[in-house]
């Protein structure tokens, strides 16, 4: 079976600056795949190349469809939800409006989706009318995830969900990601600074170095890899 998402020799640039120099990787249906690497290695840019929020070349295929030159709105409509770094919440809108926006391109009843999201994030229900900007940082990150779930994504891409959050909140977010994957088979592509958390959650991981994939393997293999342990796990 072909992978759900396949990148082959993907390059991307911001203006004149090349950020990706040929990234090749795969994400299979039902997997959690983590991208590791130092700052500036191209982890965020890889996600942006998939969602079409950066100019890219090379081949990107999702569920057999080429993403080619599709813009972010078309990529989203194909079933890829991208939760960008720094939380994709609309802070001026209410919690409910944020959720509504997740399913804005779909017709018909949202009851099932809303029930699902409230089951995953029970605290959201009582905060429906609250302005999203007044939520705590962790709550905003969870709202961003909830909004992504409203998109009913086949692939969920999450960028630095732990950014600036307290360890307990981070643990909660990772627990939810693992639960979504285990119970509903949501495929997840995860970018995360904290390699220990990523490898703990992911089935497989890729290590990016200066815009290329330097290393790839299962989480167990990578956890035992000497260079990874020294560089990213710190023991």
């Amino acid at each position: 079976m072909p992978p759900l998402l396949a990148l082959e020799d993907v390059q991307a640039r911001y203006g004149q600056v090349r950020a990706l120099h040929g990234v090749t990787l795969e994400v299979g249906e039902g997997e959690i795949v983590a991208l590791l690497g130092a700052n500036g290695a191209g982890k965020t840019t890889t996600l942006r190349a998939v969602s079409g929020t950066v100019k890219r070349d090379g081949r990107i295929a999702f569920a057999g469809t080429s993403l080619g030159r599709r813009g972010p709105e078309d990529v989203a409509r194909l079933g890829i939800a991208h939760v960008p770094e720094g939380r994709g919440t609309f802070s001026e809108l209410t919690v409910w409006e944020n959720l509504r926006l997740g399913a804005i391109t779909r017709r018909g009843s949202l009851d099932a989706d809303v029930a699902h999201v409230f089951a995953v994030f029970p605290w959201l229900e009582s905060r429906r009318a609250q302005q999203a900007g007044t939520l705590s940082g962790g709550e905003q990150q969870m709202l961003a995830l909830a909004r992504a779930l409203m998109q009913r994504p086949r692939l969920l891409m999450v960028d630095e969900p732990s950014l600036g959050l307290a360890p307990l909140v981070v643990a909660e977010i990772f627990r939810i990601l693992k639960e979504l994957n285990a119970e509903e088979g949501t495929t997840i592509l995860l970018v995360e600074q904290n390699a220990r958390n990523s490898l703990d959650a992911a089935n497989r991981a890729y290590v990016l170095e200066v815009g290329r994939v330097a290393l790839g393997g299962t989480s167990d293999e990578l956890s035992r890899h000497d260079a990874i342990r020294r560089s990213y796990l710190g023991y």
Binding site: P72, E73, A76, R77, P84, G88, F90, S91, G137, G164
Partner: protein
């Protein structure tokens, strides 16, 4: 590490000033109107002017919120639409059918202007080039109006009977009351659209955070065009009401002065707040009209400069206006 700073509610220190100012303004107008029937009449006809400023001001706010650009062509587009209404009526269409048809034509026209004149410039350029493009549209449209319909003054009929409505010895003209009613109704309809419909929510999201909106599958560029269409339709309401008012005549430069008052209304309201533009427009309309009739040395020629001075004061003292949000975000 990223520090998470608590959100400061914008209105914490000066929070009471805005409600107090508004309350003082309302009390002044109500008490004055109860004291003197002339005052009441002048207030109502000032509010009618204010409704015209408010609807054009809200049109400016709509586009400013979405693109951070002041659309200098908003008045000229409104004039063009008003001429279309005049043309339809002179071809024999009734006032209200012509009114509604004009809204549709203005809506489509606004979308076309965005597609043809604004988008190509915006794609490559900065805010300044879009401003210049909008000034280009202003000149072009005003020229086109003169070329098609000539520069002589036309007579635009009013939707409202030339009657007066008497309350306790005060005569209010139906024209003034109707103008207030229609302009407020137009703004309320638009507000309800943004507040309660799926498309309205998508448009707000597209204006607030275009990239995040695109990631949710929203076709942002199409919604921007739609926003221009809505703004043009609202401007058309303003233009049709203005052309029928006794102090304005239907001519190519009809909306030039009104655009300044609408700017002042939008700036007073904080540029990002439709409600602010409405309150600002009504306040400016009423207060300037009262100044014109009660302060002996204020001649009509001084009213436009007065609006300018007001705008300058707001920009210097409280650039976020009465209703503006100080932008707050977590860092």
């Amino acid at each position: 590490m990223v520090a998470v700073r608590p959100i400061h509610r914008p209105a914490s220190v000066t929070g009471w000033i805005v409600p107090a100012l508004l309350a003082a303004c309302v009390i002044f107008l109500v008490v004055g109107s109860l004291e003197s029937s002339l005052f009441a009449q002048q207030t109502v006809s000032g509010l009618a002017n204010g409704g015209i400023y408010a609807s054009l001001g809200v049109a400016l706010v709509l586009i400013y919120r979405a693109t951070q650009v002041i659309n200098f062509s908003q008045g000229a587009l409104a004039t063009f639409s008003t001429y279309i209404a005049w043309q339809l009526i002179s071809w024999g269409l009734g006032y209200w059918p012509a009114f509604l048809l004009t809204l549709v034509i203005a809506f489509v026209g606004g979308i076309l202007v965005e597609l043809v004149a604004i988008r190509p410039v915006e794609r490559r350029g900065n805010v300044l080039s879009v401003v210049i493009a909008s000034i280009g549209v202003l000149i072009l449209v005003e020229g086109a109006v003169g070329w098609i319909w000539g520069n002589e003054v036309k007579f635009m009929p009013s939707a409202f009977p030339a009657r007066e409505y008497h309350v306790g010895g005060v005569a209010f003209s139906m024209q003034d009351l109707g103008t207030i009613g229609v302009s407020i109704a137009a703004v309320v309809v638009l507000w309800a659209f943004f507040r309660f419909t799926k498309l309205g929510l998508a448009m707000r999201a597209a204006a607030l955070r275009p990239e995040a909106a695109r990631l949710a599958g929203i076709r942002v560029s199409w919604l921007l065009s739609l926003g221009w269409g809505l703004a043009a339709a609202l401007g058309a309401v303003s233009g049709m009401l203005a052309a029928a008012s006794p102090s304005v005549l239907l001519q190519p430069s009809m909306m030039d002065g009104i655009l300044i008052y609408a700017f002042a209304a939008a700036v007073l309201g904080g540029l990002e707040s439709p409600a602010g533009a409405v309150v600002g427009g009504l306040a400016i309309g009423a207060l300037l009209n009262l100044m014109g009739s009660y302060v002996s040395w204020v001649t009509p020629q001084l009213l436009l400069p007065a609006a300018f001075v007001l705008m300058l004061i707001v920009l210097l003292v409280k650039p976020s206006g009465l209703f503006g949000r100080t932008r707050v975000r977590r860092v």
